[in-house]
């Protein structure tokens, strides 16, 4: 290949799109195809990753100007002209590599996980389409193109959550995700309209160039724009108050949870904040809101994860919690730390989800083989799986140590950097000490609930049942292979951004510096003294160790009984198990009043009463009444008609003549 690498940037999203078209055609024409679908589905992702890596390798290090590739003009409306254009800079490069890299591994895993599914081709078609939209999202050079990707991944998320739509609970979960995301999208749209109104442009380069000059620093306009953007982020990235859809999204196939609801799509909000870092840095209030919501979500979701029994739900709340950390990072102004955690989280959370996928796979087959109707995702039915699935067991422990923040695993460095940044900000604004506290407690809970999950799943005696136990076995290599790669990445992912403290060069930090340079002018990252930093690292490691050891000492997997024999929870445990009753609260405060208003006010009164009654039927009744009066004149007497006619002629002639 010759020419400049960015000439081939279009190939990266085009490959998954081509995969979608081929697999979509196969899904419609020959639903039973498997071999060709796997080859195309995984092949396009591998090729996209290769092209992306080649393009990124060609990027000059420390090159400040983002490269914008324009393809065609999309919306020329008056002074506004929106192009379909991609932007290659340091941030989109990182995202592009994470999406295609982790995406390719998860596609490969899916080959094994979905092998027996009847709608295999449709699954891969959706998955390819998702990757296409995700790449449009991270590569888009202006807000509308980003929004197309933003909506597109939402659509694919909906399609894949409800992939097994035969069961109503799955279809409902998909619907919930879609509708809750719409609330956030209103915020995104409002932010775009405000940007256009006040800056007259929607492409990133112009917006970030004009914003510092045209918008008042910390003024109401920039605060409103960023808060609206953040509303969009809370929807897409499952933060308080719009996080409720993500745990329900676990109804989809497990690789989907790994790809969409852990590694890529849900991090779009973090990406958006990092992308618009200039705007957020100009609005200190919004940044504090972002950090506060992030810290609160991290803590809140971690408490719920303590008492979940469904292995995927533990991971779902863990994802919500980790996303909270990322928002704490980007809200604090540590954009590089937020993106760093995004990348490491993509590694270890994808590993955890895929690991849980292979556990569920094994459980499903064992229960299926013995015709047992138990929940294959309930941890109370597992136990002792380490003897049957040693690879999954070892790799998931790596991911658990990574998420708990044990050095030298990847999660330790990224989480520690976020917490250190929040603590450093506390020197000027004590509020940030509170955020740091939330994050630290959440880290303790994270270590605890992750160890709990590992203990109940892999340690202790087996509770699957005597007949089913011999059927438990390790997943095929096509599934454990991707796990191995992700395990390696979770192990060494920290080298991306090794802190100076351990002699690292903070590579990612410097790499992203051109992107965050605009924000650094308004919100310089606070520095910590060397001693304080060491103390914080010590505290973080201690917290993680305490969490793990506490879970190890307090929880007794041997005392656990299978789900069907378990007694209902009581007290605080019940409160956590029922997720603080937030779903019930939303149902009572928002959903039911809304359906009441819709049914009684909008439907019965406005639609049936006013539109149908007064408008449609009223018009009919009016013309019928008029016709009745007219029929009164229609006597059949020609003489009378003639008299009326002559009078009419005289009247008209008089009117015309005068």
């Amino acid at each position: 290949m010759t020419g400049h690498p960015t000439d081939f940037l279009w190939l990266v999203p085009a490959l998954p799109l081509a995969g979608f078209l081929v697999n979509g055609t196969l899904a419609l024409a020959r639903p039973a195809t498997k071999g060709a679908v796997s080859a195309v589905g995984v092949g396009v992702l591998a090729a996209a990753f290769a092209v992306a890596a080649w393009i990124v390798a060609g990027m000059g290090h420390g090159e400040a100007a983002p490269e914008i590739v324009r393809y065609w003009t999309w919306m020329p409306v008056g002074a506004l002209s929106v192009d379909v254009a991609f932007q290659l800079d340091q941030l989109s490069a990182v995202m592009m590599l994470v999406v295609t890299g982790v995406g390719a591994l998860i596609h490969l895993f899916s080959v094994g996980y979905m092998r027996a599914d009847a709608a295999y081709a449709r699954y891969f078609a959706y998955l390819n389409l998702f990757v296409f939209f995700m790449l449009v999202l991270v590569l888009g050079a202006n807000f509308p193109v980003l929004f197309v990707g933003w909506e597109g991944v939402g659509l694919c998320s909906y399609l894949l959550i409800g992939f097994w739509f035969g069961e109503k609970v799955n279809a409902d979960a998909g619907k919930k995700a879609f509708i809750v995301n719409r609330i956030g999208d209103v915020g995104f749209l409002a932010a775009m309209l405000l940007l256009w109104r006040h800056l007259g442009a929607l492409d990133f380069a112009t917006v970030f160039e004009r914003a510092p000059a045209d918008l008042a620093l910390g003024g109401p306009v920039v605060t409103a724009i960023t808060l609206f953007l953040f509303l969009g982020c809370t929807g897409k990235s499952a933060q308080i108050p719009l996080y409720t859809w993500l745990p329900d999204a676990m109804q989809g196939p497990t690789p989907v949870s790994a790809l969409i609801h852990a590694a890529t799509m849900v991090t779009a909000g973090v990406y958006l904040v990092a992308r618009t870092n200039v705007l957020f840095a100009m609005a200190p209030v919004s940044s504090a809101v972002v950090a506060g919501v992030g810290a609160l979500t991290a803590l809140f979701a971690a408490t719920i994860a303590l008492k979940q029994w469904d292995i995927k739900r533990v991971l779902a709340y863990s994802t919500v919690s980790q996303l909270g950390y990322m928002f704490l990072g980007v809200g604090t102004g540590a954009y590089a730390a937020g993106i760093f955690h995004l990348a490491t989280h993509a590694f270890f959370k994808a590993l955890l989800f895929l690991g849980s996928g292979s556990v569920i796979h094994a459980m499903h087959h064992a229960l299926h083989a013995t015709h047992t109707h138990e929940d294959p995702q309930d941890m109370r039915n597992m136990g002792g799986l380490r003897r049957h699935m040693p690879w999954t067991f070892a790799l998931m422990w790596i991911a658990t140590l990574a998420i708990a923040g044990i050095p030298p695993f990847a999660g330790f460095f990224s989480k520690d950097e976020i917490l250190a940044a929040a603590f450093a900000r506390g020197q000027d604004a004590p509020l940030w000490y509170l955020f740091w506290g939330c994050g630290a407690v959440a880290a303790l809970l994270t270590a605890f609930y992750m160890t709990r999950m590992m203990l109940y799943t892999f340690h202790g005696p087996n509770r699957t049942g005597e007949k089913a136990e011999p059927h438990l076995h390790e997943a095929p290599w096509v599934m454990t292979g991707p796990l191995l790669v992700l395990g390696l990445l979770s192990l060494v992912g920290g080298v991306l951004n090794l802190p100076a403290l351990v002699g690292g060069g903070q590579w990612l930090h410097h790499w992203l510096a051109p992107v965050t340079a605009g924000a650094a002018g308004f919100l310089p990252e606070a520095d910590l003294e060397h001693g304080t930093e060491l103390t914080l690292v010590g505290i973080a490691v201690a917290i993680a160790l305490v969490g793990i050891l506490a879970a190890w000492r307090l929880l007794k997997p041997a005392d656990l009984v299978p789900a069907r024999l378990a007694r209902p929870e009581r007290g605080l445990g019940r409160l956590l198990w029922r997720k603080w009753y937030v779903d019930e609260l939303y149902d009572a405060v928002i959903v039911r009043p809304l359906t009441w208003v819709s049914r009684n006010l909008l439907w019965r009164f406005l639609d049936q009463g006013v539109v149908d009654g007064v408008g449609v039927n009223g018009a009919a009744r009016l013309s019928r009444g008029l016709g009745w009066i007219g029929s009164w004149l229609q006597t059949g007497e020609v003489g009378l008609y003639v008299v009326v006619f002559v009078i009419g002629v005289v009247v008209v002639l008089r009117a015309v003549g005068s």
Binding site: G627, G630, S631, W632, Q634, T635, G636, E637, V638, G639, V642, V643, V646
Partner: protein, 98 residues
């Protein structure tokens, strides 16, 4: 010039036609009254054509042609009604009403 008397005659003829249409009950008589009105208008056209040019003459031919066609259709309708109702008295023909 006979314009004044000619217009007077035509006005009288038109008024007679209107009165006949209004007061008579026999369909054929009413029909004749309509013809009377048409011819009153024709007379007006001719009289005014003396001053205003040949267009009035042309109009008269058109009116006569239309009147002939109308006579054919109208008489046919009256004949059809008579076959059906055995009368041409309009007071007895009032089936068509709302």
């Amino acid at each position: 010039m006979l314009l004044g008397p000619a217009l007077t005659v035509s006005a009288i003829l038109f008024a007679l036609g209107v009165a006949g249409v209004l007061v008579r009950r026999n369909a054929i008589v009413i029909f004749m009254c309509v013809e009377l009105m048409l011819n009153a208008v024709n007379l007006t056209f001719i009289a005014l054509a003396q001053q205003l040019g040949v267009a009035g003459h042309v109009f008269v031919f058109f009116v006569m042609a239309v009147a002939a066609a109308e006579a054919a259709v109208g008489l046919a309708i009256i004949l059809a009604i008579y076959r059906h109702q055995e009368t041409v008295n309009l007071q007895d023909i009032h089936l068509l009403k709302g």
